[in-house]
Amino acid sequence: MPRTLTLRAGTAGIASFSLFALAACGGGDEEASAWILTGGGWPAIEEDLERFNEDREAEIDVEALENDAYKQQIRTAVGSGDAPTMIMSWTGGALLEYVEQDRIIPLDGNTGELDDRVYESVWQNGVVDDSVYAVPLNDVQPVVMYYNQEVLDEHDLSLPETWSDVEDIIDALGDVEDVDAFSLAGGSVWPAFMWLAYLTDRHGGEEVFQAVVEGEEGAWDHESIIWALETMQDLGDAGFIRDYNAVDAGQNEDAQLLADGRAAFLLQGSWVYATINQDFPEFADSGNFGFTEFPVLEEGAGDPSNIVGNPANFWSVSADATEQEQEVAFDYISEHLYNDQAVDEMLEAGSLPPLNDIGDRIEGSEAEEFLSFADELVGSANHFQLSWDQAISPSEEQAFGDNVAAILQGNMTPQEFVDSMNSQ
């Protein structure tokens, strides 16, 4: 008898739980919601949102999605009027489109002291037509060159300051079996955008890509972009790691190849610093893990202080949310975002919030070396180029990714690439 009872109670429990879960899915009209990403510093953001919920007895329902899945689903959700209250973006083309379609609301007057605290160059990314539509929510993410000192020592190499140094390194490693100069997750394609952006910028300066963003006729067909694409194909022959097209960034294989000493360098976003500390602690603690700037191109027209990356991820507030939901979001943005605890946690993880009032807190933090490096890099940059895939219009993004993949696979010539992009 007792067994049957337990069984029944269990079944009833499961049944009522499923009903409850169903109700929770369908309902949620009164709750504000936010979608975030997985991995990197995102779990800390989720905890911060939970703390806000506890403090204010508010309800912000958080859902975490994988990067690619997020990009595809957020658009459908926004387009169908089912967007979460707080919409995360990388600004750029997608933000412009949200504003044009009236899918998000201006945040002027609801951002507390943030506009005094956030670096101007970062803050401006969220401003459209003199109104604030998005505020940064996490760390500045410049793309930097990571290296493995052990590999450099073993082959008697030093850090490249110029592009000819890079060519020397590639030559030196040419005959070495199982070690290549640059790890690259070509299978995921987007890490190659960073190469394209840096090479173009070093060769022709920031104006080259600016013309593309502004939609100038034929702007893709520029000698600097073609040079960058050619250089990438040369690196594909010698420079990038063998079988780079099969290396996947989603599983951090590119970072692992650096940690394992299969590659001397890795060009990746600043979030990889945290990834390496978390996933490959042995390498991170060995003293061989280093980071530096992208080398200078001797005769290039670009300012060598220019950097590429994401200024940050940004929050916007959905126009389709109810007023109560929007109030909760405003509350979070104006009073809770970048609170002391959240900032400390970011710094601890080696992430640099784009704030001008944290200089003294970087000192003595565990990741001080990386943080001051990133702070210096961002602070002295003449231009901070938003990742190309984010900066261009979302309707061009797929073609851009496909074409970069084709370049990596040697399936398209640089001229075909720029012609194809111009015709989009």
Partner: protein, 308 residues
Amino acid sequence: MTTIASHIVNAQGKVNGKRRQGPTFLMALPAVLFFGLFALVPLGGVLAISFMEWNILGSPSWVGTDNWDTVINDRPFTWRALTLTLIFVVGSYLFQAPIALLLGVFMAGQQKYRAFLSVLYFLPLLFSSVAVGLTFQSLLSPYYGISAALPFDWLPSDWLSNSDIVMYVMIFVVGWCFIPFHALLYQAGVRQIPADMYEAATIDGAGRVRQFFSITLPQLRYTIITSSTLMLVGSLTYFDLIFVLTGGQPQNAVRILPLDMYITGFSANNLGHASVIAVILVAIGLTMSLLLNKFSGSTKMESDKAGA
């Protein structure tokens, strides 16, 4: 009760053959409503969108047959995607059908360890396709997968990035997932074959191979039809594993129609073109099922079991 009773009488004796047989339409109503709401209505929606230009965020606008014209006449990739789909469907069938049949026959037998092995064969069916995809991604990684672990130099290491072999890799992985299901169908089919047929054949001196071709295969023909229909239509619309493992790369070598539809719709944000592809896919799928049904004679399927 009376309906059921008369149904039984009808089935056995065909007493009053003129009257409409079986349960009333009312009983099918929930299923019909469900089908209408979740299959026919969306299908109508897709058909409508195929005549519109829509980037998901803005509002759709009517463009007549422009999308159809572009997708069919001005988009060479449509035809490439169709070809790839054909290769995938035929390849999957040639890979899955024989193995599933043999496994099913084996699992229906009485050999030693049969139950244990059956459980192992059955396992892939229990895994979520995303989990399978991520696992195979790791297995096929050039640096951290099987190619690096095994000492065979002739093994390719770029399973997922070599456009010449990625199609076969996909056919294999998808087959790995679905063979257990079809083997299960065949196992059930084989178990239904009366044992006395085999006894009689043994007495007549037929060996194992002869028994397989003269009794097992013919007796399984309806199972073969069912399983084949599921395999062909299933691989025609297959998406998950290919998406997780490749996203259509490298060089779009496995961008079959369903994947092409998804990428066009949700990555390139062109729902109009994606809907055209979707309608083409529906048309091919329906034609294929109807043809299979017609030529296999499943409409006049009869029981051929002993005693029935």
